[in-house]
Each structure stands twice: as C-alpha cells, then as structure tokens.
C-alpha cells in the first residue's frame, strides 16, 4: 500500500477523490483476505509435515529385542483378555445372583411350606359333618 492510501485511511478524506479511496480500500481488503487464506492453508500442512523435513530420520526408536517372550505374550494375549472376560461376566451375573429367588409360574416350587395364621397345635379336629363352602382356581 502506498503512503498516500494509508494517509487516506487515517485521515478519512484527503486530497484524493472519494471513489479512488473506496477502490483502494477494496483492493487492500482483497489482498489481506488472499494472504490469510494462503497462510491458513499452508501453515497447518507444513506444521503437520514437519517430521518429514527432519534432518535425522527417526523410525520410532525400537532398538531393543522386538520379541515379547513367552511369559509376556501369555500375559498380554491370554491372561488379561480372560481376566477381562471373567470380570465382565461376573458383573453381568451379579444382580441375579444377589436377588432373592422368586416364584415363576411353571417352575417347580422349591420352597418350604408356610402357613400364615395357622391353627394352634393343640386344636382338636372339627366335626367332619360341618359344611364348608369355598372356591378353587387354576393358573
């Protein structure tokens, strides 16, 4: 940008006509936008690609023996997965193991008998002739 243009921007209206000022401002804005876009595109790419430009290439630095050994292999690939499986299975079975067994129709009755408000032990049997009513139901 010329010194004149900046003066125009600072002073608002200078000796130059207002249409020229508007044209120059538009050009300036376009250039700034182009520069921003160019920087925004190139800088992240270059930053991400920085390792490729390194002088000394580093492939991860695996300098020791790559073999795990039998013990570690078993630990990593057998013991830990099996342990995780058992823990998850245990957690899944925990609620039903903790809950009280409840009655389900069709399943055999596996509980002891219970008589609420039952007869006293010394009660003598009622006469067999006493008529009785009632009802029955199945489910």
């Amino acid at each position: 940008m010329g010194r004149e243009a900046s003066r125009v921007l600072v002073n608002g209206v200078g000796s130059i006509s207002s249409t020229t000022v508007r044209n120059r401002t538009t050009t300036r804005r376009l250039v700034a936008r182009a520069a921003t876009v160019a920087l925004g595109v190139t800088v992240p790419v270059l930053t991400a690609a920085a390792p490729a430009l390194a002088l000394h290439r580093d492939d991860g630095g695996a300098t020791h023996d790559p073999s795990l050994g039998t013990g570690l292999t078993l630990l990593y690939f057998v013991v830990i997965p099996l342990g995780a499986f058992l823990v998850i299975a245990g957690l899944a079975l925990l609620p039903s193991a903790l809950s009280r067994p409840r009655y389900r129709p069709g399943k055999p009755w596996e509980f002891g008998a219970r008589w609420f408000n039952g007869p006293q032990a010394d009660g003598e049997p009622a006469p067999a002739s006493s008529t009785r009513g009632g009802a029955s139901a199945e489910w």
Binding site: R100, P101, R102, Y103, R104, P105, G106, P108, W109, E110, F111, G112, A113, R114, W115, F116, N117, G118, P119, Q120, G123, E124, P125, A126, A128, S130, T131, R132, G133, G134, A135, S136, A137, E138, W139
Partner: protein, 123 residues
C-alpha cells in the same frame, strides 16, 4: 425339599398385616397356606381346615399350591354364611390372575382383602 423363603421380609409383613386387618374387620379367622399339597387338593384343604378345631366354623382358609398352580379357598360353616361361594370364586379368580403373573404375595394380599370386603363387618 430345599427350604427357603419365597417372600421378601416386606411381602411377609404385608401378608401378615392384611390377615390381621381382615380378621379384625370381619371377626372371621383368615389363614393362608402356601406350599406343596399332596393328594387331592380339595380333600387336603378341608383336612387342613378341620385342624382349626372349634374355630374352624369361622375360619377362611386359603390354600395356595404354586407347584400345582392351584388354589383352594375353604370356608367354615359360619364363615360360609357371610361369604358366598360366588364371592370366593371372584377372589380366587383375582388371585390366580396375580399368581399367573408371578406375583405370589400380591395375589394373596388382594385375595384376602377381597374376601374380607365381601364378608363385611360382624353382625
């Protein structure tokens, strides 16, 4: 037979409470047996009912055999005068519906409540 409790403490307390309330309200004795029944259901239930002795006449016994999926309501002579077989059948139907859904304690509580309501207050 492996013993255990089919009811939680809360259900147990609910059943005992409803039996007590029903007995107080009606003056009849309400009793509930839950468990295995051997032999003919009606005969066994009547034999159990007669074990109440002199009190048997005013006793309403509910025998629930979850293993056989069968329930029996036995009313004594005095109780039968206030509790028609029709009312008993209605209570039995309601109970069996609850039992079929797996709600043993709820069915017993409902049944006893219905029977007590049908029997009404002592004259």
């Amino acid at each position: 037979m492996p013993s255990g409790e089919p009811f939680t403490n809360q259900q147990f307390a609910d059943i005992e409470h409803v039996l007590e309330v029903a007995s107080t309200e009606t003056g009849l004795r309400f009793s509930v047996y839950v468990g295995e029944v051997e032999g003919d259901m009606r005969d066994t239930a009547e034999a159990m009912h007669s074990r109440f002795g002199a009190a048997a006449t005013d006793t309403v016994l509910l025998v629930v055999s979850p293993g056989d999926r069968f329930l029996e309501i036995v009313t004594g002579e005095g109780a039968a005068r206030r509790l028609s077989d029709r009312a008993c059948a209605l209570a039995a139907l309601s109970m069996s519906a609850a039992f079929a859904g797996g709600d043993l304690a709820g069915g017993i509580v409902t049944g006893v409540r219905m029977l007590a309501e049908a029997a009404g207050k002592p004259i």
